[in-house]
């Protein structure tokens, strides 16, 4: 070892090259195998949604032997309403929630990030605290409140809280983002005669697009997936949403007709997958920025 001092660097590099080559191969192998394990159930469900019932119970493979397209039409019409009713109901709640969160959370975030007012620090701490507050602690009085307002079995209990910035997570996300914008822009705007609302609308909001996109995508996914509050507030058959419809389907006939149930599950997961593909950048950034700070 000691006598080979001169060629050592090159040799070592060559050795390392081989070692990292092997190591890289092992890493790739491990990653591919674990990625396959992770994703296999999803792929299998997708394929099972095209399989006849007996095949679902016997074939763990990914390619159906017989393609059972009727699973989809059967599932679509298996419930009191055709499935598009539930999709529409979910969409209405999702749209209301997205608009609500974008407007109310960005307004609060602008105030927290840019304006000076009494008790700002304390209110900010309270806001952070509410992120962690379990919904279970407030759900019963909320239910009583909305029940007294006559809002149970309407979409209001699911949308109005979003208009009131109760998803504090997004307030925090946008505060972090706005704090990163140069203050000089605000000052320039103010000198050009922009008031606070003008600055908010014309300077901050356009620059906040990435944060707004993150908020919109997360709101979509969380609201589309939300089960708990929809279960509590929507009992009327006409108002059922996609998750509630799936649950209804499963508890009534689903366990005897897995193919159709899987078909509708795929329909339910489709939009999330779409948003995931389209907005992955924003999702990852959203998690990373709020996670680290």
């Amino acid at each position: 070892m000691t006598e080979t001092t001169a060629p050592a660097p090159t040799r070592r590099r060559a050795e390392r090259g081989a070692a990292t080559g092997l190591r890289r191969f092992v890493f790739h192998l491990l990653l591919t195998v674990s990625a396959m394990v992770m994703i296999y159930p999803l792929l299998w469900m997708l394929s099972a949604s095209f399989k006849p019932l007996d095949e679902i119970f016997t074939d763990p493979g990914l390619i159906p032997n017989t393609w059972e397209w009727s699973n989809y039409s059967e599932g679509w019409n298996a419930l009191p309403h055709p499935f598009e009713t539930y999709i529409w109901n979910s969409m209405v709640i999702v749209a209301g929630s997205i608009v609500g969160n974008l407007v109310s959370c960005s307004m609060a975030a602008y105030a927290f990030a840019r304006l000076r007012f009494p008790m700002r620090g304390m209110l900010f701490a309270v806001m952070l605290g509410t992120i962690m507050l379990p919904i279970h602690v407030v759900i019963i009085p909320q239910y009583i409140l909305f029940n007294n307002l006559g809002w149970v079995d309407t979409f209001w209990p699911l949308i109005v809280p979003k208009l009131l910035a109760t998803d504090a997570f997004f307030v925090f996300l946008m505060v972090q983002f706005i704090r990163g914008l140069p203050r000089e822009l605000d000052e320039a705007a103010s000198i050009d005669g922009c008031g606070y609302w003008g600055t908010y609308l014309r300077i901050i909001m356009p620059l906040c697009m990435p944060a707004l996109a993150t908020t919109a995508i997360f709101t979509f996914i969380w609201t589309w997936n939300d089960f708990y509050s929809q279960l509590i507030y929507l009992r009327d058959v006409d108002l059922q949403t996609v998750p509630l419809a799936l649950r209804l389907f499963m508890d009534s006939t689903g366990t005897t007709n897995w193919g159709a149930l899987f078909a509708m599950s795929i329909v339910a997961l489709g939009p999330i997958f779409g948003f995931f593909l389209a907005g992955q950048r924003y999702l990852v950034r959203g998690i990373a920025t709020t996670g680290i700070k």
């Binding site: 790739h28 990653l31 674990s34 990625a35 992770m38 999803l42 299998w44 099972a48 119970f57 016997t58 763990p60 959370c105 307004m107 609060a108 304006l115 000076r116 007012f117 700002r120 507050l133 379990p134 279970h136 602690v137 407030v138 759900i139 019963i140 909320q142 239910y143 029940n147 809280p161 009131l164 910035a165 307030v171 000089e184 000052e187 320039a188 000198i191 008031g195 609302w197 997936n225 089960f227 708990y228 509590i232 998750p243 799936l246 649950r247 508890d251 689903g254 899987f262 599950s265 339910a268 997961l269 999330i272 995931f276 992955q280 999702l283 990852v284 998690i287 990373a288 996670g291 680290i292």
Partner: protein, 329 residues
């Protein structure tokens, strides 16, 4: 704006002039015409921007919290109720189903969170090596955590771990006769734990972001001092990552105490078989929205909050012993 300021700034610092903005920043933008009025205008603006949030805080969060605490001392049930003092809390001690629910929730949390974070950390470290195709792997690992909370996935899980489900079909290839995992009281909770571990993607993303923040110079310094790869991992990566590990731990423990959907779907809303998947949240739902015993359900909600608060506080206390925040600044 700049012309004047630059004129003022330049003579002071001749050589390498800093950008004029830094000098201008502390000064209020508008010329002084009644500083008080600007202050009050700003306050009013703040109030108007904050008003939706303030109304929400009072009406949707703090109000109901106070009401919930009050209700927990009544026997309220849709419409009427009377003050019963601490009866609901006393009742907890004679309620074996509640004790079981606490146990089930605790087992779920303290088994699944370490496994989930372990998987997240492991894969984050592997992915951080900047292999080719890393973005693809990251997406694949992240996807389940986006879908994991949905009813569709819970339905899928119910089939996969059913008697004739995918898992048993695969076990059958090796000649193993599997159980009906979701319908067996000993294994049903296990399937939920596996589901939780499956969603390790979002803590993994947070770990990845954390790894990227570790300055390369620390590794270089360690290398110069003769530290091998393992040593560098234990003495540089892990200590500098402990704040992120701590953050994920706090967040995931809080979240998993509140899990609801998966257990509800897998057990058809009953927390079965034999209450083996009866989370506290399911029991709360059962008491509050099926039996409409809202007083008792409110007491359960406060028990849940107390448990979460205690474990979060413990977490923070213990963090002193293992979380490294950098001691030189």
């Amino acid at each position: 704006m700049t012309d004047n300021d630059v004129a003022v700034v330049r003579p002071k610092q001749r050589s390498s002039g800093p950008p004029p903005e830094t000098a201008a920043a502390p000064a209020p933008p508008a010329p002084r015409k009644g500083r008080g009025t600007i202050r009050t205008r700003e306050r009013w603006a703040a109030l108007s921007f904050m008003s939706p949030w303030i109304i929400g805080l009072l009406a949707i969060t703090i109000g109901p919290m106070v009401a919930s605490f009050y209700l927990s001392f009544t026997d309220y049930s849709l419409g009427y109720g009377e003050w019963v003092g601490g009866e609901n809390y006393a009742r907890m001690f004679d309620d074996p189903r509640l004790a079981n629910a606490v146990k089930v929730t605790a087992v779920y949390t303290f088994v699944s969170v370490p496994l989930q974070l372990g998987a997240a950390l492991l894969l984050a470290i592997v992915l951080d090596r900047g292999l080719r195709g890393m973005a693809f792997y990251r997406s694949v690992f992240y996807l389940p955590s986006l879908l994991g909370g949905s009813v569709a996935i819970a339905i899928m899980w119910r089939q996969i771990f059913g008697t004739e489900g995918l898992v048993n079909q695969l076990l059958g290839l090796f000649g193993i006769q599997g159980e009906g995992w979701v319908s067996h009281p000993d294994y049903a909770l296990g399937t939920l734990i596996v589901l939780h571990v499956w969603t390790f993607g979002s803590p993994m993303i947070i770990f990845l972001a954390g790894l990227r923040q570790i300055p390369v110079m620390y590794y270089e310094a360690a290398k110069v001092d003769g530290a091998g790869p393992l040593r560098r991992f234990w003495s540089v990566t892990i200590p500098l990552l402990t704040p992120i590990i701590f953050f994920n731990l706090v967040l995931q423990i809080i979240n998993s105490f509140q899990s609801f959907t998966q257990a509800f779907i897998i057990s058809s809303g009953k927390g079965g078989p034999a209450d083996s998947t009866m989370f506290l949240t399911l029991y709360l739902y059962d008491q509050g929205f099926t039996q409409f015993d809202m007083g008792y359900a409110s007491a359960i909600a406060w028990l849940l909050l107390a448990i979460i608060a205690i474990f979060t506080a413990l977490n923070f206390l213990m963090s002193k012993f293992w979380v490294f925040y950098g001691d030189n600044d």
